[in-house]
Every structure is written in C-alpha cells, then in structure tokens.
Amino acid sequence: MTTGALIFARNNEEIDYVAMARWSASNIKRHLGIPTHIVTDDAETTNTRYFSDIGNVIWHNLNRMDAYQLSPWDRTLVLDADYVVASNQLQSVLEVDQDFLAHRWAYDVTGNNNFEGLNYFGNNCMPMWWATVMMFRKSNHARLIFESMRMIKDNWTHYRNLYKNTTATYRNDHALSIALGIVNGHTLDHAGIPWKLASLTPEHKLTQTSQDCYRVNFINTENKPRWVELQQDFHAMGKQQLGEIVASNS
C-alpha cells in the first residue's frame, strides 16, 4: 500500500505558505518516512524542481476537496501548511483500519482558551471536525466525503443558512463537518483521530529551541508570564511566527 502526504499551500502577501509546506514536507519525511506533494497555484514555485526530492509539485487552482482526486497514493495524509510535524505520532493514524479520520477536538496548548467557540460552528453549535489533519484511504467512503465537501462548497449559501453560520466565509472545517454527517447517515458518530489537536493561537509567542522542540511564551489568565515547551505535533494558528521559524531554517 502506497502512502504519502498532501499539503495545500497558497502564498499571500504576508505569508509564504509554500516555504512553510516545503519545510513541513522535510519534517514529514524525517518523522513519518513518506513523500509529500505540495499543491499550490503559485506558478513560479511549481515550475521549479526544488521539491523533486520530496515529491511532485502540482500546479492548478485546486482546493482541499480535490485531495481525493489529486492523491496518487492508496493512503493519504492531508495537512495544513501550518501544522507542525514534530514527532511520529501521525504514524499510528496511517496504520489504522479506517477510510477517513480527522480531529473532532482542538485545544489551546496554553490552557488560556477553552476553544468552545472553535469546536462548534453556527448559531446552533453544530459539532465541528477539523480539516487541519485528514487521513483518507482510497475508498467509496472517502470519495463521498470529498464529493460532499465539493457539493457543500458549491452550495455554500444554502448550507450557511441551514446551519446559521454567523460568518459568510467558506471554511473547509465546516464543509468537512457537514460532509461527514451526510456520508455517515446524518449521525454525529464519526471515527476520529483519538487525540485532540494541539493548537496555538496567534497572540502567544512561538519560538523554536531545537529541531523538534518549540517554546510558547504566553500571559496566563492571571496576567502572569508563563511558558510551555512543545515536543509534539501542533497547529500553529499564528502563521507569521511560524513563517519566521521556517525562514530561519531555510
């Protein structure tokens, strides 16, 4: 069975997501021993051969729901560019006998925020599944999930109204949550990654202390300075700080 990772990366004026993805691909190779394809619409980048040691670079205006079609592997890990692979913990996700897995819960590594508002969406608090890390196996089940995400994106106004989403912006997390419901018989019982998604919000200071070790300086709820050390995978919601770490590594 072939296995690999996909990272979707689109640069904007502030963040070099492609560089972030390239750095993540090297971490993935080191910890999980699998190749990575970076999906981007950055023509300049995709025309280089810079990524040839990591995997092909595909150039197209593609979205997360195209992952199923794009992946050349039997089993694929889809990661956000700002997901930091600092351990081999996702190895177990790649070995589990499931067609599709994602995180149901995310938490703030500092403990400052309870993330209640982020683990649900819409006025009626629909449970949210995070599209930050998705593992899928080529199967009808996984294909239907991605096709449903496509349908939801194409009809976003309808779904936004149905779930009383307060923001108009389309989000992959919301589409994934709705798609899982549709594919799994409108239940909420979906197999999930059996640990919570460690997350770091932008207001905290993230620095790298060694290759797979990160330090988070933050002000706690009692207004006292504190820090935690991370030696695990995490979702760096503060892209700017992660960008600086990536730049210092290149």
């Binding site: 649900y120 006025n123 009626n124 608090c125 629909m126 449970p127 149905l162 779930y163 709705i178 419901g181 549709i182 018989g185 409108h186 239940t187 909420l188």
Partner: protein, 241 residues
C-alpha cells in the same frame, strides 16, 4: 385492570391535547414495531377517576394491562427502534430513566430545569420513560408516589426550592430516594434517555425549537441530525405538524 399481554407501552393522555400527542407517539412506535402493544390511557380509563393534573400518575400501575409496562409521556415521538429496551429492562422490577440528551445526542449538561434536584440531592430521573413489571417493588414504588402526591404539603417543607404543586419527576425522585435509587434506576448512561427539546438543554435561542430549527420526518431529523429513541418535543402545537 386484568393483564392482557406480557409487554406493552402505556401512554397516559389526560386531556384532548395529550390524546392527540399520545396518538402521534403511538403511530411513531407502530412505524418501527407494528405489533407493539400500546394503550393510550385517557381520563375515562383512570381506575380511581380523574384526580386532576399530575396527581393521577400513580394510577398507571393499576391501569396497565401488561405484566411488563413501559410508561411513556405523551408529548414524545419515537424516532428509531426501541424494542431492545425490553431486554435491558426485563431483569429489573422498576426502572426510571435518568438524565436526558440534547438533539446532538449529547448528555444534557444544563441544570436550569433541575435546581430542585441538585439542591436536594435527588436523582436526576425523568418519568417520561418508566419501566415496571408486576411486582412488590413496583407496587411499593407507586404506593409511595401516591403518598407523596397526597402529602405534598408535608414533603414541601423538607425540600429546598419546592414547587407549589408537585411534578411527577420530583415525586418519582423522592420515591427513588426512599426506596434507594439503585433499586429503581439503572446506572447513568446505561438505560434509555429522552431527547429533551427544552430551550436551555439545547443550543437554541428561543423557546420554540420547531420555529428555529429545521426538522424533517421519515426519518426524523433536527437540523439534519438523525434522532434516536424518544424525542420529547415539548411544544404541544407541533403535534399537528
């Protein structure tokens, strides 16, 4: 009432609105279990006559024509098969359901409606689903229920935040404490529970969920989420939808 069958559902329906609700519930059970025995207990069928309001409840024991009875509150709808409950309950003499769920099938965390239970350390029982088999235990339980209803003025004095008139849930909870809750309940999370559509149990902004949320029949879904077991819709007008 003479026993006419081993197992059956009993739906008390005192008053016209409740008769309509009970018929809807009966229909929804028959959809899943066409051969289920169901009795809608109307005012005229009460063995000791209409005593007014919740106070009639203790009469269900004498009114049931079944050796094993599951009593159901009328304003509920059956959204999935429930006959596996019999296997779960048949080893016990009395089981009152404990806890409730929201429409996402999550245990109800809100205690807004349960202050009297929490302040008095009463078990979190819901009479909406109550099982009993003909037994001394069940007889004792419903005798207690009768006694508590009839002597509410005395019980009221020993409770914190008592209701002016007794509610069946509180009366059942007091009876459970007197008999020992373990004798008349199953461990939390094990027995059947209702989906309770009251406002503060669900993430909704208004008291009428039928106007706020999208619901569908066949299968019964609320805001696209498939419902399981019994859904206590609580808004009586919905019965005609």
């Amino acid at each position: 009432m003479p026993v006419t069958a081993e197992r059956g559902y009993l739906i008390p329906a005192i008053g016209n609105v409740y008769v309509e609700c009970a018929q809807k519930l009966s229909d929804s059970i028959h959809k899943w279990h066409p051969n289920a025995n169901i009795t809608i207990l109307t005012k005229e069928m009460l063995p000791y006559g209409d005593l007014g309001g919740y106070v009639n409840d203790w009469q269900v024991f004498a009114a049931s024509p079944y050796r094993q009875t599951i009593k159901l509150e009328a304003d509920m709808i059956c959204a999935s098969p429930i006959d596996h409950w019999w296997t779960l309950l048949e080893k016990r003499d009395v089981v009152i359901s404990q806890g409730a769920r929201d429409f996402y099938d999550q245990p109800a965390a809100a205690r807004y409606y349960r202050k009297i239970f929490d302040e008095n350390n009463l078990p979190d029982v819901y009479n909406a689903i109550t099982y009993w088999r003909l037994s001394r235990t069940a007889k004792e339980f419903f005798n207690l229920v009768q006694s508590i209803f009839e002597q509410w003025d005395s019980y009221k004095k020993i409770l914190k935040f008592p209701d002016e008139l007794p509610t069946t849930d509180v009366v059942y909870a007091i009876a459970a404490v007197i008999m020992d809750p373990d004798q008349v309940t199953l461990p939390k999370g094990l027995g059947p529970t209702i989906v309770h559509m009251k406002r503060y149990i669900n993430p909704i902004q208004t008291s009428n969920w039928t106007k706020e949320l999208v619901w569908e029949n066949n299968p019964f879904r609320i805001n696209t989420v498939a419902q399981f077991g019994l859904v206590h819709y609580h808004v009586k007008e919905w019965v005609n939808e």
